[in-house]
């Protein structure tokens, strides 16, 4: 394994080489969802993908996670080609996908049990992660007793319990209300600054992408391609960041790139 694909702390690089994903419609006609995606996320980098609905950005994440096989091209995590799902890649979906019969603590314990962490270490690790996502005191609550934002916090804690080499996030805050979303973004950024895991974050929210990411990849409408990758990490603290003109300009630039790809708008203009 070459040292450039993996940092000394095990945080890995994500390499996507010429990935094209083809599906068949019900009549058997093939169509491309993704067309020739080339993208690299460096170790410790936070990269966001924005794109119009149906552009295949979630599909790309599912390919990296190994849930579905790649039609053409190659995906490499820390020097190792993806051949299926595995705990080196942690994923958070838009829905928390928690196990309703397990309490918060036992949901976070599950990946620790599966990874074979010694029982004596599991409990302390789970409690620390629950505390880290701000849910101390809710250890013995069932998911149904929590708000949407809190459930998503459990999902994040559970994924961190895997101690993955990269984090894949598929519109994790997409179903939350605007206020909860802002708080979750701030907290995610705090956690990321501590652990500096490689993050690939899919969203349709340009502001969220600019706020969180070092770089933002803009995708085209289906079949999805990378239209442009924009550097966004601004040298300011997160709290005053959103007020700056620089932030607004970046959002505007990315929105301009994205706007032409919104299918409804294109058909309306014709």
């Amino acid at each position: 394994m070459s040292p450039s694909t993996e940092a000394p702390d095990g945080v890995a690089r994500i390499e996507i080489h010429g990935v094209t994903q083809t599906y068949r419609d019900p009549r058997g006609v093939e169509f491309d969802v993704l067309a020739g995606i080339d993208l690299t996320v460096e170790p410790h980098e936070f990269l966001a993908i924005v794109g119009p609905s149906g552009c295949g950005k979630s599909t790309l994440l599912h390919l990296i996670a190994g849930f579905i096989p790649v039609t053409r091209g190659r995906i490499v995590i820390g020097g190792r080609p993806v051949e299926g799902p595995g705990p080196d890649r942690g994923i958070v979906f838009q829905d928390p996908a928690l196990l309703p019969w397990r309490t918060v603590k036992r949901n976070v314990l599950l990946p620790l049990e599966e990874r074979g962490v010694p029982p004596s270490h599991r409990e302390a690790t789970a409690l620390e992660l629950i505390r880290r996502v701000g849910l101390r005191g809710f250890e013995d609550f069932y998911p149904k007793q929590l708000s949407g934002g809190m459930r998503q916090r459990v999902a994040i804690a559970r994924t961190l319990a895997l101690d993955p080499r990269v984090l894949l996030m598929d519109e994790p805050f997409g179903a939350l209300d605007a206020q909860t979303r802002i708080v979750m973004q701030e907290d995610l950024l705090d956690i990321w600054k501590e652990q500096r895991k490689t993050v690939l974050f899919v969203t349709h929210d340009v502001r969220e992408a600019v706020y969180l990411a070092d770089r933002v990849a803009v995708m085209t409408a289906r079949p999805g391609r990378i239209k442009k990758v924009v550097h966004t990490r601004l040298p300011k603290g997160p709290d005053d960041l959103v007020e700056t003109a620089e932030f607004a300009d970046l959002c505007n630039d990315i929105w301009t790139l994205l706007r032409d790809e919104i299918p409804d708008r294109r058909s309306f203009a014709q």
């Binding site: 994923i91 196990l99 599966e114 990874r115 149904k144």
Partner: protein, 245 residues
């Protein structure tokens, strides 16, 4: 539980009054108090006890076998297209057939006795369990299964640790149907042939003209089913509490 007992007591009271008014001959509609007295007598003569135990054993064994086999089969169907394609039509074909119709067949294979009765019970009870497990397992959120794969769990482990627990609210309903059905199948089967069990006892007493005794056994079967269902309802309610929003 107590609230559910009230309509039953009212029904029995009404029965007692109608019987006392003498519209129908005592043989055809015996009053409840004499049925109860006959039940006690059947108990003391030793006619009831052994038959009751035999029947409960058959019902319990058939119900447990059907539940276990039904859950495994339903889970396999939800995970394997080949199994699903094979089992579904067979299930659809056997669904409308009254299960006691299989009795002569089981009689040839297994002989007269408990194995044949248990086989009838399993044949009847397995269907609701398979269907509910299959439907519940198929409905499990794709992201939940993916998350389990993400943790490195294999297919069998995912079924036991994730898919079946996630499908529990559906499975519980199928098992409840199977529980009530197990009494139905038991008595139907025992009435067809044999010398033991509550079904045999009820038909034996009826044929001998002991209608009070027959009513006593039939009502007892009803109460057994009722209490089993109530206990199951209470247990499953506690089990499903975390699932309910």
């Amino acid at each position: 539980m107590t609230a559910r007992a009230v309509p039953i007591l009212l029904f029995l009271g009404l029965w007692e009054i109608v019987a006392a008014l003498g519209f129908a001959p005592r043989d055809i509609l015996p009053p409840v108090h004499s049925i109860a007295a006959r039940a006690v007598a059947l108990g003391t003569t030793g006619e009831l006890g052994p038959n009751l135990l035999t029947s409960l054993g058959r019902a319990a064994l058939g119900f447990v076998l059907a539940t276990c086999a039904g859950i495994v089969l339903g889970a396999l169907m939800s995970r394997s297209r080949a199994i699903e394609v094979f089992v579904n039509p067979v299930l659809a074909l056997s669904y409308p057939i009254p299960k006691p119709a299989f009795f002569p067949l089981f009689l040839i294979w297994l002989g007269l006795g408990s194995p044949t009765h248990v086989a009838v019970i399993v044949t009847g009870c397995i269907i609701p369990v398979v269907i509910s497990t299959y439907n519940g397992a198929r409905r499990v959120n794709r992201h939940v299964v993916w998350t389990a794969q993400n943790f490195g769990m294999g297919p069998t482990r995912i079924i036991w640790r994730v898919v079946l627990p996630a499908a529990l609210p559906d499975i519980v309903v199928g098992i409840r149907v199977a529980l009530t059905l197990s009494f139905d199948m038991l008595v139907s089967s025992e009435m067809l042939a044999g010398q033991t069990g509550l079904g045999f006892l009820a038909s034996y007493l009826g044929e001998g003209g002991d209608y009070e005794g027959m009513f006593a056994v039939v009502l007892m079967i009803g109460f057994l089913g009722f209490f089993a269902d109530q206990a199951y309802g209470a247990l499953s309610g506690r089990l499903l509490a975390p699932y309910r929003d």
